[in-house]
Symmetry: D2
Subunit: 145 residues, 4 copies
């Protein structure tokens, strides 16, 4: 029987208003800036679960992006409020995989960007290490394995 | 028999010195900034082939990133000179695919980042269109089909 | 007799959480990024007064920074929530001057950055023009002359 | 009698090609990005004098911007090659003042941006300290006092 606590992976929705300098002369958000929005998304997802990346780093743990991918499906424009939906898809060993969908907030439209990032958990010397508490406990309770 | 003119896809090597603001407090280049280096790479590859993106855009053509991916294999640091090696892997219809490898210049080491981007060619109304000249001629002569 | 409606120049307080990529390897917010926070400050001040820069620009008016200055008094760090306090100090002809103070939100401390920017109002051909409505009415009612 | 060795303050000219993401939807370089070009300018000026900021920082010295100002006189556009002319105007105690003028390279035109930054020399604990060697020697020989 499925464990309902694990049925829904941790998910969070953050809102970001597009700043002028995040656009380029094409009149839309510069494509690489969406990876910055992804980072806001996963940071706020972790915060909603009780773990701040600031504290993790201060305690000697770094989460480093080792793979990043995005598909651009439509334009995001200056002053748009974007909804960044972040899901922790997978957690195993020293690795976390997050999925993202960015939509124009307040609308019902399809995603303008979808993507994912894989992060490795590194210790002080830059060596992979298992997720520390409280992140480990959070992930053990919540993430699909 | 293979056509030697098509045997080697167009390739270019650009050098970029890492700026202070491109680092983050982790002490390395912020991961999303490598997509900016990729853009320098493909811009200089096109320039070396006789086409500037500036002119393309002024003539009503836009090349828009529709997919981007990167794998981070090692750190790039402040003041490092990076060699961005760009290859036009594929060109068909309204789409170009570029591959990238970023190394620390002057060394013999492995890539610190590898990635690729897919760009769509759009006309004035944002509709896909075939590559215009001189880009089409360049691609027809050089790119693997 | 002084007009109390003009006694207090328009003022707004916006909150911004520092993103990871806004830091540099010195461990604090890269100095130029505070000018981006200033822009968020004046954008939100205008919005609070009933004018969005997006609409102004769509109607053919641009507000272009012609002078910018900042004094850095203390560090702003990753994940800090910053309070950007923006004041419209002066408005005359085609020019607006905004003052800014950035503090760590939730604290009582001194500003970490103070600065100002002067913006010129430009029309479609890039020529200076008088502020258009609704901005003109807002400024006439509120700003010290 | 004036010392000719001190008659001309240290000066350097660096070239930078404007990247696409450095523009905004107004079609010109986003104003805050010129402070990044200023940093390239002073970094290359120091390098030309025999001091790299990378080495200074590795040896425990930081040069922190405590004041920055810019006047925007004309547009810089995508793919323009900019000439950043940097002058070390003043050096006293723990403080360096650099002046900048940015022109479109290859032209004879006026500056598009002029500005200056004041940097404080800080030691390991973030306390002001006198300039270390080799920077001190360089400044003693060259800068107007």
């Amino acid at each position: 029987m499925s464990d309902p606590a694990k049925a829904r992976p941790p998910h969070h929705r953050a809102e970001i208003r597009v700043r002028y300098e995040e656009t380029d002369q094409g009149g839309v958000v510069y494509h690489a800036n969406h990876f910055r929005y992804f980072e806001v998304g996963r940071t706020e997802l972790l915060r909603s679960l009780g773990a701040t990346y600031r504290d993790l780093e201060a305690a000697g743990t770094r989460l480093v992006v080792i793979e990043a991918t995005a598909r651009y499906l439509g334009p995001a424009r200056y002053d748009d409020v974007l909804a960044v939906e972040t899901t922790l898809r997978e957690a195993r060993g020293a690795t976390l995989v997050f999925d993202y969908a960015i939509r124009i907030a307040g609308g019902d439209g399809p995603a303008v960007v979808e993507g994912s990032t894989t992060l490795a958990c590194l210790g002080a010397q830059g060596r992979p290490k298992r997720l520390p508490e409280p992140l480990r406990g959070i992930v053990d309770r919540l993430a699909p394995r």
